[in-house]
């Protein structure tokens, strides 16, 4: 099996007629993804890439029985696009768009938090369940169906981790890019929970980076609640401290957020951390064959 995206997922694309929306819809279709239609306000009733287009998400859901939405709309309109999907009772929303204002996401987060909804992103590569389908912009051919669950805050760095697990013949159950924004729809912990209870996932690769404290929080969760081996790489070990303004960031983070802090906490919580980006695949392989 897989997490989030499986054979029952029926996807609509919000912003399907834009250049990014079109390109990635075509690629997803050729990968075998069950995309059933699209939404672009003002273009309802037309057809695009042989798919029906609607003005509103609700209309698309009613007509197509869709239960997931992939969002490519421009950043200024993302909040409305996400909320429209929420109101149409879509359960899985993947927002690829980068540059969404932080306070828009704060508002969205309050609304989805007490609902049974998964929002992935924004500013992320999306979700792929190899062999089943993809909701995102990742290159499909580096993936293969398999046993490793991949979670990452980064885009291209995720591909690097994915390719290495494919090269070792392990493959992936699902790969989820949660995005690097300050207020993401889903956290590492949200996705770790899903991988822990997915019977087809035998190991989890978690790719983090400097800044924030989501890796540290994930580490505590892994210690208490994850039985499967977790392999991690933290990008930015050699990044110099940036110029800064004021004290608030340092106070609120308690001076943490550097790669070394994260690696320390992860290792204390039993996570297998590789300091060499190129050994993610090997570390995972060894963990599964020891």
């Amino acid at each position: 099996m897989s997490i989030l995206l499986d054979h029952s997922t029926r996807i609509i694309v919000q912003g399907i007629t834009g250049s990014q929306g079109s390109m990635h819809t075509e690629q997803a279709l050729s990968y075998g993804t069950k995309i059933v239609g699209g939404v672009t306000p003002g273009k309802g009733g037309s057809s695009h890439i042989n798919l029906p287009v609607f003005d509103k998400v609700e209309e698309a859901v009613d007509a197509l029985d869709a239960n997931a939405s992939l969002i490519f709309v421009p950043a200024p309109f993302c909040k409305e696009a996400i909320l429209e999907a929420v109101n149409a009772d879509i359960k899985l929303i993947v927002c690829i768009t980068e540059g969404v204002p932080t306070l828009d996401m704060l508002e969205v987060k309050q609304i989805i938090d007490d609902k049974d909804i998964f929002l992935i992103g924004p500013n992320c590569p999306g979700v792929i369940s190899p062999g089943i389908g993809k909701m995102g912009i990742m290159p499909a051919d580096i993936h293969m169906p398999g046993r490793v669950g991949v979670i990452s805050r980064s885009g291209t760095l995720t591909y690097e981790a994915v390719k290495q697990t494919s090269d070792f013949g392990l493959g992936q159950s699902s790969c989820v890019g949660i995005g690097g924004d300050p207020i993401p729809g889903s956290s590492f912990i949200d996705i770790l929970k899903l991988f822990e209870s997915d019977t087809n996932t035998d190991a989890i690769v978690m790719v983090g980076e400097i800044g924030g404290s989501s890796e540290e929080e994930a580490a505590e969760f892994i210690k208490d609640s994850v039985s499967k081996p977790v392999i991690s790489y933290i990008a930015g070990q050699t990044a110099p401290p940036g110029k800064r303004m004021g004290h608030a960031g340092a106070i609120i983070s308690g001076g943490k957020g550097a790669a070394s802090d994260k690696i320390l906490v992860l290792e204390e919580c039993g996570v297998l951390v590789t300091r060499n980006l190129l050994e993610i695949g090997k570390t995972t392989y060894d963990a599964l064959n020891s």
Partner: protein
Amino acid sequence: MNLHEYQSKEIFARYGLPVSKGVVIKSLQEVSGACKKIGGKSWVAKAQVHAGGRGKSGGVKLCNSINEVRDFAEQWLGKSLITYQTDEHGQLVNSILIEELTDIKDEIYLSMVVDRTSQSVAIIASAEGGVNIEETAKNNPEKIISIFLKDSNISQLQIQKICLTLSLNKQQSEQMDDILKRLTKLFFECDLALLEINPLVIKTDEKLHCLDAKLNVDNNALFRQQELAKMHDQTQEDHREATAKQFDLSYVSLVGNIGCMVNGAGLAMGTMDTIKFFGGNPANFLDVGGTATQERVAQAFKLILDDPDVKVILVNIFGGIVRCDLIAEGIIAAINEVGVNVPVIVRLEGNNADLGSKILLESNIESLSSLEEAAKKSVELAQ
């Protein structure tokens, strides 16, 4: 996007927050007029840079005559101010804020920031204001109160908690109530990422007063904060970083000799880590982004080559959105246009990587699919 203190205070004034009477000057000729306009016999002169720690570095001065203000302006205008919050080059001073004097009884620290951990906007306050606030946070965290807002409504209970922690009396608490509500409105209406007042002072007449103001606006929201966007002072950025931004590239210069061009911030950091792992030193962080065009790749080469220390360039592209064949064409065009005179090592993987490699090969540029080989080769050539 950071704003200067004087810009931040203009916005504070608009929101009815108590700030000092002040005039900003950009040349020596304006000093006398500014002082006379403010009135009085003493002034505070403050160098305007996008960094804190100015007081400790001589960037703030109490002046008892117009001549002293002029001397201060002469000392700083056009010069760089280095503080513990800047890099070793410091920040260019091109304006100075002259303000009336404030009689200070007590100093409070107050800030608001988007907090990733609590997924909210945090208000942070402490009675131990001033320059040593980070020490207080580390050694006496109980002296700092944080409350968390999920939207632009601050509750009376939250306000009471802050006033209690700051040991404010009734009259001061009433003022704080008003200030907190105005700041919250400002934070949400202006799409801020950070708002800091250090210090917020209690004057000898018991009035609360914003003696400093630092604002940072969410870059993602600048499309709807046009007026704030216009306040941007490009001189506060490294010139290469500023040029990079014009072309939607993200660039940070470092001390090293291996130039890097990578798509994606995470992979760019990962590439730097890998270079270090094999014993080399990256000259820069450079993210060409997800939609790298030929023009941007050419600009990226120019930026990297602007650094005389660069001995080799490592291009690491994992095509997701970006097509490797387009990047390959960009690399060839850039090399022809810019005249690259150092070896270029290219690693292409992902979307159309084979086609990209073929295009490069036709122009006698070798590309590798292994990052390990590419990184090792770069390190070897840089020695």
